[in-house]
Symmetry: D2
Subunit: 331 residues, 4 copies
């Protein structure tokens, strides 16, 4: 960490600050510039924050040299993590193809879609049982009944299953019935939920928050990992920007950027990013071409009747076509 | 709600869509433009979302005419809500002056600060017992011990108290020990927590999410209100933008904008908005001048030793000066 | 265009407004909702803006139904535009591969890079002669001497050439010496420059502004086209967001979105988007996979000595590899 | 400037980099951390950019310690700049009250408004003669005829005058007819225009770009100042964010932040920030309370007939009321 002192800070004040810094267990290197005096902190600074030094009157600014995440960092874990769930591998060149409806609505709906996406080449079935809806007046999900249908769909098709856990109460049920746990964008900094996920022995798909920086996202992964669960898969699903023609802005650069600094697998959700089904195929191609470890796609056989997010759902035949086109590109 | 159809949609398709729309219980007005055909939905559209109609192939776009919130809307509740807590009123010209440390660190720390802010004119004491920290390696709060100290501080000073609830487990404890419950920015769309807060009989200060639109913020208030708790106070604390010189961007316009569309009180947190103590006084003046129903200010007697957010904490004497200066301006 | 009136507006006031609207030459459809009264404007509304009606006390909000651009719109020009420059086609499945240094620094530098990118498969040479630098103390470009070097490079390699015009003074020189004119992100709403570009008979590559919506971008294209020059190529180069790990956020969704609403070719500049050379190859693959009509890539044989933007420049051998890898994917 | 090297960089490579850095005329301090090697550059680094060092393979990141602006910096010019135009002072506690129509539409319109705002206490008259409109189909301004009307209004009322210059062609006319030159948000990085403004002997009001950081804004001021014109007044007019209920987001924190790092006066334009007349009074109060050196307000006697931006224009009687209310608060 680097601490920049205000111009003309007295030596006495600098010395007092250095004593305080050393009390935290790190060493201090001093460097005098033309107008600014700079302190470099050497040692394990992961417990320190730049903000805590900015409380001193003599400090102008403070900034990190090293990323604040450790378990998620490529620096200390250079090989890509590969997660293996009953033989399905994710990461290190192995792609997760997650497909299914936004919400589970009925047995017939889920099984119809499950069979279809299985045939087209998906290896994981998604389907929301608990729905975090921005309006209290919208459909909130089938809850435990939905989880049971996911289990049934797995028995029928052999697909792995994933669904979102939205609170401390539901996450244990999710872990009981499905193969992967999803933490949604709105809960990316629900630290109580992250800690709980870290104590469960199930892979976690961690969606990026709507306005989360990549650093915050990796720190959220760090929360899960620091509790003992290292099976974290990141999922880019679009960030919030000023643009309104698309629902969110897919940050495709996050894939190669994350791969430079972290060993965790990263997949892309083109459906939520765009909010429009017509853009799901091109964005899926972009995701696989840029090097993502998979995609998560909403598929619905009757999107116009979907209880949520019909606008962004592919029909099964369009999903089939997408899978064929990805294969043609060698993706 | 308005639905814009794609150019050259066939009459048959339009008729089918109209039947589906009417099934939701609303009426449909048709309007033919030069290139576009527009449907207007009349009736209670609060259960509908524009996205659900965008699942139809023939729909180009859909948008709301009426705001999706009802209980929080000024349209149905024109008078400003005034919340009265043991004689302290908030809203309708009555200001909440909330002050105290970011985190509760010790009895001595909390009581020292409590006495001081009481003398300067605060009417509510803040102090974090559960801290939502972006790093798992940072101080996480004194938890239940902190709540007990808040109660003690109230007995000593007569100040009302507020602290943040960060999960389903802690919110009941918070409600038991303090006078107001704070829902933090990172939990603004933690719907399970919002619903629980809606079932408690305590005023809730609902902070705006880092990238929440005002509409989403009012919908989060609606979640609380729809469970029966109408005592919601909104708190603007800065939004996330591209600017890096300040920690967040205080959206001061949110105050007059919210007052045009909602009856709920709205206060401002200048400390988190700027992230720098030197900007707390000017931003507090701006907040009161623009018409806010109060401010929430971090005060610490030893900011350089604070376990969190020292950089943005005012020293007690600076808080005193701020209160005097607000009084001079008649704010 | 739709105009939403405030609840309880008097009939007399509505009638007066309708008279004013009809004076602009459009027809008015009325529609009464439960709480709101809505006016639909029918006819050519491209000269009207929603804002102009919001000046009326009785108007709550106003919004467009039809996109405000006409010449750039797919609605009135359904076939993709293909631009043909001396046999090199751009658009409709034909890709522009634009490569070269950020700034032209010397004859040796430009010719070395030109020969190399030509061999690797580029068809257009880029090189900045006039540099819009955010600091007045940075290198500002070789200006007219740079333009002459571009001409020389074309004679030598047969590559088409492009460079940025930054003001009314320089644009005519640019048009004289090069085959395409680039309008940079910072000048996307320099309307005087756009109009001038519209009067020249040269294709224009119009970069998206740092915070320009797609609508504003297409309106900037409309400025050029409305002066008579229909040869406009859009270039997505990253937008400004809160993320700091990458210089800008490449809005890859802009490619399929623009293709849905406009007939103009659209290319991608991965170099400026990421600001890091290591991300140029994955982002180029993503761009071609998503359906872009080309890429614009910075190439420099000695990036560490580059007078601008060395960090984002590919070395010639890396550019060669990129071109080979794109070919393998059939892109 | 600080340069952070990649972990495990060889000594030989570090030494080569240090030689290159010293060639630019600055000194280098070395500092070895636990995982990272850090170089500190000492001397005049204003001609250097962090990006230029990121072209080296061994460099992980580079960042500034000192702000890149010099002439605009408080570090080298601690006293507030006060600009005096014919006795009207701006800065250092003296407020500019700029009022008038968005566009000049006719003699009668301009003179009516000018007289009225003069009576209410404005000291500078604004009025657009050249309008940068996002649509080529919108009203583009009265141009030279408008400038003549501004001159006439000054003769009649004694008010100083200001109008926007939008290109190299018009800026000299603007300088000839008016007392201050405005550079609009869309031209904040039109460097050719900034340089030209720097050569004129007229105060310049420099609006912040829609997505300009404060650093870029001050660098734009630096462009003007580096050409010899130190009379620059900054104008905050709202930035672009994800929020859509207001047209832009007024960054009120920019006022105290700029005052900490620069000596230039800064004013606020509440009209463009909000885009709604009803919010102009509260935002004006906030601006003056936060410490701005003035406000720029759109006033129109018939906003519903205004050829541009009627929605955000105050009627003369509302502007009068605003001035009275500011006086009551001692602002």
């Amino acid at each position: 960490m680097i601490i920049i002192l205000k111009p003309k800070t007295e030596r006495k004040v600098i010395d007092e600050l250095i004593v305080k810094i050393k009390d935290t267990g790190v060493q201090v290197h001093e460097s005098k510039g033309e107008n600014y005096y700079v302190l470099g902190l050497v040692g394990d600074t992961s417990r320190l924050t730049p903000e805590q030094f900015e409380g001193y009157d003599c400090v102008e600014r403070s900034m990190r040299v090293q990323h604040p995440f450790k378990l998620a960092s490529k620096l200390f874990h250079p090989e890509d993590t590969v997660i293996n769930i009953e033989g399905v591998k994710i990461g290190g060149g192995n792609a997760a193809i997650i497909a299914g409806p936004c919400s589970i609505e009925s047995e017939e709906q889920l099984l119809t879609i499950a069979k279809s996406v299985k045939e087209s080449g998906a290896n994981i079935l998604r389907g929301g049982a608990y729905k975090p809806r921005s309006s209290p007046y919208s459909f909130q999900g089938m809850e435990i009944e939905g989880l049971k249908l996911l289990k049934k769909a797995k028995e029928l098709t052999g697909l792995l299953t994933i669904t979102e856990a939205i609170c401390l109460d539901s996450i244990e049920h999710v872990a009981e019935y499905t193969d992967l746990i999803q933490i949604g964008a709105r809960n990316m900094q629900n630290f109580a939920l992250l800690k709980k996920a870290g104590k469960l022995n199930k892979p976690v798909v961690l969606k990026r928050g709507l306005s989360a920086t990549m650093e915050e996202w990796l720190m959220a992964a760090e929360y899960i990992m620091s509790e003992g669960n290292s099976q974290v898969i990141l999922c880019e699903r679009g960030i919030r920007t000023f643009e309104t023609y698309t629902r969110n802005t897919l940050d495709i650069s996050a894939v190669p950027m994350i791969k430079e600094i972290s060993h965790l697998p990263i997949i892309v959700d083109p459906s939520h990013a765009a909010g429009k089904w017509s853009m799901v195929e091109p964005l899926s191609k972009a995701a696989m071409a840029v090097g993502a470890d998979g995609i998560m796609v909403e598929v619905h056989h009757q999107p116009e009747n979907a209880l949520s997010d019909g606008a962004q759902s592919l029909k099964p035949e369009k999903f089939k076509k997408l899978m064929e086109n990805l294969a043609k590109m060698g993706l």
